[in-house]
Amino acid sequence: MSTRDLFTFRNSHFRTGVGITAAIFVVTAIAGFIVLPFAQPWVQFANIWDAICSAAGVPQRAAGVTAPEQAKRLSGVVLTSNTLSRPSQEAIGRGATLAQRCAICHGPTGVSRADSPNLAGQYAAVIYKELHDFRSGARTNAVMSPFAVNLTDQEIADLSNYYAYLPRLPAYHPTPQLPKPNIVIYGAPMRGIAPCGSCHGSLDNKTGSPWLEGQSEAYMKAQLHAFASGERRNDISQQMRNIARAMTPQEIEQAAAYYASQPPDVVKAVD
């Protein structure tokens, strides 16, 4: 009994084993790649090859289908956890000079007296992404957009590094610290809402998500409503739009009030 006697068509087990396996494969392949694709009345294939490629998952545009026009610009920024992770002193210095023109709204120390976001100590990747989005038009704001359109890539990086470098100072709107509402710690699993803290710090931070402690309540509320209505759409993969749409107005209220009442120094230090 050697493998030579086994791997030969004279051996009935070999014949049956290989034969049945191959037959099942061929039949299922014909069904999966030819019969079933054509059984979908809502898809049109130019020919059999087109159907096979589609069923095999070859990246291609199906014949006769044009890509939908994108009505508004989407964010084109790519972030990794290493984006701007090790800034030089010079970059921070250049950023400080550039930041003078931001101070009128965002405050000379990066803490706003108006309802603009506080930038002092914000994650660099966050500022980097928002400035890019303002510049490209993926996010628009009557005040910010004109500032951003003329920035170069280098300037955006420098500004981000500078603000990330500033110490986190208390905000200007002192309120007693509120207890965590459910939406912040638990989210709402049945509506597909993860806890805010699983991206925005406190539990975990996901690249590109800002920390929110001490930000203006009015600003945060406005942003959540803008996400919910689709007016703001620079969140990658609709992460925030999906959440904001599912939040109740009351939850938006609670989350904004809670975060506004927190001192920013509770945010975990940057690695």
């Binding site: 493998t3 998952g57 049945m190 699983s198």
Partner: protein, 540 residues
């Protein structure tokens, strides 16, 4: 002939020790996310626990049981001292080292990636290295099983390989090949990113690699159970295996069709073509075949036992079975759970029905019933059966053993039936918290509470199991005689070469992997622009 008892006992004890810990975590998870627990407001702790529970229950515990049982089979079925004992100990210590290495980052909250570790979420590199060590340790066992069979064949040219060893080696080959998918994913994709050498990862490709492992791993978990069905149960209840060839064909079928069907885990994934999903789905349907063959053969074998004991009539023989024998009880419970679990599995494997239960609590209910229930209850039975031969002492407490098995069965039903139910109602899985005050899920509070109670019954049963084995280590000495496996009604004297060797079936398994996975993997690996930024656990 069990010579290396220490080796086997070490594997079993480590398996049951980590099982005890993971079981406690499971019960805690059940409790803390049920309406009877007061939530501790920190999902982070829940996910640490869930990662540890899944990693231990999915990778460490069943692998160690399969290894322990495999060594015992090799020595007692082949009647031959284990060749490569030093290597076996090396494998054991690799698993110890790997488990410790993986558990530390989990405990520190640096690897809350759950046992499926789907990218782009990336945890601490030591978690993955630990998993790799566990797998490498088990590969040593695979090699040893193959070597021992080869040595035996040399000494017994042309003789039929004992069924237990034939099946055992089939299981080890299945594991060796199916682990390759996750190994490729870890070595080529995840570990470079976790080590900081790369910052982006092709998450879709990673999921396809993982599916290569994820399905057949469940058949690897199942192997010891099926081997026990065929080769222990009939002997323990005084019967015979109805058909030796049928048994071999079942194990061969597992080898061929358990593996190239994993894409039923990616039905919801856009990166896999629908044609391949269909092929995998069709092959998945085939994998029911060896289970149906097994159920048939084992029922027939059990009937033989009953008739030998004087059972009469169409169904009257059932009463003649030795119901006070723990092995009989375990088999019956296992079959009932296999039946329900299998019926649920039919729903998971069909593309359309799956959409309604995908990622719901149904899934966790399903695999606890079939894995924690049907499979693990036979692990208990295997340990009970082998223990006197390993320790040289008698397990006297039959009543306690029966109670333990009853509790496991009842606990598993009470836990998993409501678990399935809330899944059908749409409750998502892998959630740390549910607000049962919300009218949308308030009605599920009762079901989830029942599940949690079932969880504590299981915990009680698990503790009893460990106590029984520990007491067995100190019982009075008694010679249990040589360890034997069940004989067939027609014990084979010659077996066709195809049913006595694995080569043809391993070749078919690899061939089907190429046809069913080759193109999807190449397509994803060669397309550019398919990677996304990694999301590091705990990174700021």
């Amino acid at each position: 002939m069990l010579v290396n008892r220490k080796l086997i006992l070490a594997h079993f004890w480590l398996a049951f020790a980590v099982f005890g810990i993971a079981l406690t975590l499971g019960a805690w998870q059940m409790f803390i996310r049920s309406p009877i627990g007061t939530w501790l407001s920190n999902p982070e702790l829940y996910y640490r626990s869930l990662t540890a529970h899944g990693t231990v229950m999915g990778y460490v515990f069943p692998t160690l049981v399969a290894m322990a049982f495999g060594y015992a089979i090799s020595e007692s079925a082949l009647q031959q001292r284990l060749v490569g004992v030093r290597w076996a100990w090396a494998g054991f210590w690799l698993i110890v080292a790997g488990s410790v290495m993986a558990v530390i980052p989990i405990a520190l909250g640096r690897a809350s990636v759950l046992y499926t570790f789907y990218p782009p979420l990336i945890g601490n590199v030591f978690y993955y290295l630990g998993v790799v060590l566990v797998v490498v340790g088990s590969w040593i066992w695979v090699a040893l099983m193959s070597v021992n069979l080869r040595v035996w064949r040399k000494a017994n040219p042309g003789a039929p390989v004992p069924l237990a060893m034939f099946a055992n080696v089939a299981g080890s080959y299945l594991w060796a090949w199916t682990a390759v998918g996750a190994a490729l994913e870890l070595l080529l994709q995840i570990i470079p990113v976790a080590a900081g050498l790369k910052a982006t990862i092709d998450a879709g490709l990673a999921r396809v690699f993982f599916s290569w492992t994820l399905h057949a791993i469940v058949y690897f978990w199942l192997m010891p159970t099926y081997i026990a069905y065929y080769t222990i149960v009939p002997r323990a209840i005084g019967g015979r295996v109805y058909s030796d060839s049928m048994a071999r064909i079942s194990f061969i079928l597992f080898l061929v069709v358990a593996m190239p069907i994993g894409m039923h885990h990616t039905f919801g994934d856009p990166q896999v073509g629908a044609g391949f999903k269909f092929i995998h789905s069709a092959f998945t349907a085939l994998v029911a075949l060896p289970t149906l063959l097994t159920v048939f053969t084992i029922c027939a074998s059990v009937e033989i036992a009953a008739r030998l004991r004087g059972g009469r009539g169409m169904f009257g023989w059932i009463g003649a079975l030795p119901w006070d024998n723990p092995m009989m009880l375990a088999l019956a419970f296992s079959f009932v759970m296999l039946g329900f679990g299998g019926a649920g599995g039919l729903i998971n494997m069909s593309y359309q029905l799956d959409a309604s239960i995908h990622n719901t609590q149904w899934i966790t209910g399903h695999f606890h019933l079939i894995f924690g229930g049907a499979i693990v209850i036979m692990y208990f039975a295997i340990a009970y059966d082998l223990w006197p031969h390993l320790t040289g002492r008698e397990l006297i407490d039959l009543r306690l053993m029966r109670t333990q098995l009853w509790l496991w069965f009842i606990g598993m039903i009470v836990t998993t039936f409501p678990w399935h139910w809330v899944g059908i109602l749409g409750m998502p899985r892998r959630m740390a918290y549910f607000d049962f005050g919300d009218p949308a899920i308030a009605p599920q509070a009762l079901s989830v509470t029942l599940s949690a109670i079932g969880g504590f019954i299981l915990l009680a049963s698990g503790i009893m199991f460990i106590v029984i084995l520990a007491r067995g280590m100190r019982a009075p000495q008694a010679d249990a005689g040589p360890y034997r496996f069940a004989l067939a009604v027609h014990q084979p004297t010659t077996v066709p070469v195809a049913l006595n060797t694995h080569a043809l079936w391993v070749a078919l398994m690899i061939g089907l992997t190429l046809t069913n996975y080759g193109y999807p993997i190449l397509n994803l690996a060669l397309s550019s622009g398919t990677s996304v930024p990694a999301v590091y656990v705990g990174a700021q």
